[in-house]
């Protein structure tokens, strides 16, 4: 019997199977950032340990960095100390740091792929649940806690139980105005925020194959929002073309590249491999999506309505009502036309150059609505630079959008970029949890296109009506 992509990578990385327990898994690449690493380094120091393979670790500062005036010292004291601590730890333990001011700095899940550090077949971890992003390259990539960060720093290994395997097939052609973010929001709305818990998920089918690497990353990024251990997509020509020529990729045309490519070409699920569960989705059924509640599974098509109370299972009613109360929404209402105060385009889900290009081509010649504040936060210094080179920043400026500097920003509001209490934001990020974008902030998750439409109209809008 053939193997799945997951099994191919898993089997190649098992150092040891513990009887009646987890497996010891070898980790190829480890990304770290300022928020979930200090206690791990503290643990190493307490035990008198060095980093075992510091060259396989890459660090950046992203979670709590300001997105304005990055050349100045960070104003907020605790953030400044945490970023400083990361710098000290990286120096002490011999780890490469792309910190503030470095031309490679950016959101950890944006810089890994764009620098060519992320390569097919790797096991990749980071103390961040959106590490699943890297699975778009045919990798096994997942988020870990700080104790596990310490384990990987100390031994380059982790204890993991083998998850069950799920394949989600999306077949067909996407409708006008529908992009990869809509695909993943649609899937989560169908299977729920816990629908893939305990599973590693492979995304497959013609609609996935036809996506660019950036679009694939958006989908794998949100695997964790359906509870999946990791999300992955088989490596193909799109993958190889993206990696070719990137800084840390094997030099194109050389012997090393040929050898790598030969291996990468095996990184797909075999025809006769078997999954524990398969889900089939028709691309044609997907319309531009938006969430109305406080978990990413609470999503609907933009022309749809918030479920009425009689559409909700009796047991789920208390959670549903709590959620709508937080959002200040009534059951059964249409979401389209709802007034919006903020638009945030950024985060590890949607801050890559392709996302900014998509927004720019839509808003070119348009202006934002008067009472909406629009923040565009590029995923990295390189994305920012590219946007400037392409003149995208001018389009944003003319539209009245504010182009800020790279970081996680209002996705989790650890820095000053917070949506005020009670205000509504259409956000391209990944989580609409209570308080996620600031205490009391109310989040509608959507694609960059739907977010741009909200910026122009000042309300939740159907982007299809605004497209030629």
């Amino acid at each position: 019997m053939g193997k799945t992509l997951f099994e191919k990578i898993w089997d190649k990385h098992v150092v040891k199977n513990i009887e009646g327990g987890p497996s010891v898994l070898y980790i190829d690449r480890h990304f770290i950032h300022e928020v979930t690493s200090p206690q791990a380094f503290g643990g190493l120091e307490k035990r008198g340990l060095k980093a075992f393979r510091p060259k396989q670790v890459v660090a950046t500062a992203d979670h709590n960095v300001p997105t304005l005036d990055q050349h100045l010292p960070i104003k907020e004291e605790l953030s400044r100390l945490q970023v400083q601590k990361l710098k000290e730890n990286c120096e002490k333990f011999g780890i490469e740091l792309y910190g503030l001011g470095h031309p490679f700095q950016g959101i950890v899940h944006v810089i890994g792929p764009e620098l060519g550090i992320t390569q097919p077949g790797m096991t990749i971890v980071c103390g961040d649940s959106h590490t699943s992003t890297h699975g778009a390259f045919g990798c096994m990539a997942f988020g870990i806690g700080t104790s596990e960060v310490e384990m990987v720093l100390a031994t380059q290994c982790l204890m993991q139980s083998k998850p069950k395997l799920m394949r989600i097939n999306v077949e067909g052609t996407l409708n006008k105005g529908v992009v990869s973010k809509d695909i993943v929001l649609y899937i989560i709305s169908k299977i729920s925020a816990s629908g893939a818990t305990g599973y590693a998920v492979e995304f497959a089918g013609s609609a996935i194959r036809n996506l660019s690497m950036e679009a694939r990353m958006t989908i794998c990024n949100m695997s964790i929002e359906m509870g999946a251990r990791c999300g992955m997509i088989g490596a193909d020509e799109t993958t190889f073309n993206y990696i070719k020529g990137r800084l840390f990729a094997p030099p194109a045309g050389g012997e090393e590249w040929d050898k790598a490519l030969a291996y990468w070409k095996t990184l797909h699920t075999d025809e006769d491999a078997v999954f524990d569960k398969e889900i089939n989705i028709k691309a044609e059924d997907i319309e531009p999506m938006i969430t109305y509640g406080t978990n990413p599974g609470m999503g609907i098509g933009v022309t749809g309505h918030v479920p009425a109370l009689n559409e909700i299972d009796e047991k789920e009613k208390p959670s549903f009502q709590k959620s709508l109360q937080y959002m200040g929404l009534q059951p059964g209402i249409n979401i389209k036309g709802k007034k919006v105060d903020y638009v945030f385009i950024g985060s590890c889900t949607n801050s890559r150059i392709e996302d900014l290009r998509m927004v720019a081509s839509f808003v070119k010649g348009k202006k934002k609505a008067d009472d909406v504040e629009v923040w565009i936060v590029p995923g990295s210094k390189q994305v920012e630079k590219q946007a400037m080179e392409e003149g995208i920043h001018k389009i944003f400026e003319e539209a009245g959008f504010m182009l800020r500097q790279p970081g996680c920003s209002a996705c989790l509001a650890m820095n000053e970029d917070k949506i005020p209490a009670g205000k509504y934001a259409v956000s391209t990020s990944n989580r609409n949890f209570e308080g996620r974008q600031g205490p009391g902030a109310r989040t509608f998750l959507a694609s960059p296109l739907t977010a741009a439409a909200a910026a122009i109209t000042g309300e939740v809008a159907d982007v299809r009506e605004m497209m030629p």
């Binding site: 200090p38 104790s147 818990t197 959670s319």
Partner: protein, 209 residues
Amino acid sequence: MSDNNNKSVFQNTPSGNGFKSTVVPIAIENVDTDQIIPARFLKATSREGFGKNLFRDWRYENDDETQPKKDFVLNNPTYTGKILVGGKNFGSGSSREHAAWAIKDYGFDVVVSSFFADIFKNNALNNFLLPVTVSEGFLHKIFAAVEKDPKTELEVNLPEQTITLVSTGEKESFDINNYKKTCLLNGYDDIDYLLSMKQTIEEFETANK
């Protein structure tokens, strides 16, 4: 708040003895780690002290410790204990281990739910906080029993892998892998284990160059 961090309450339990406690119920589904500990409290560089901000925004009005929300269970002195019981899909979202630290630091040693998010479960186990997965039916029995009598006790027996509603004697068994069970019963952590097999790891690296 307690000095409950990094200690296994199950260590050196005489076999056959369960861990008995009253419970604190949070009958909400999809309790994500942003609720357990909001991101703005993740700026510390040590593991201690997160308990005081556990469920911060559900606990206080306007982020103000002098304005406790009366209807939130942690502010209700009727409910105390070392076992936290949450609705389905507990610990979803962010991988922040600070969520497990906050729960443990507050003084809990066991979390019960019908379904845990993967990363949270690992984080909990790595901090000697035992996640006990029960059936949906049993979970609702616990919530109902606690609503009727806040002094309701649960008994968690790790060696036997059972959880019992003490008042009625109703019992369920729960899963935990043998390795993790041994860790909790002996106070071992994964790093000790991984460090002990460094040579095997180096051999693996050489073989896979």
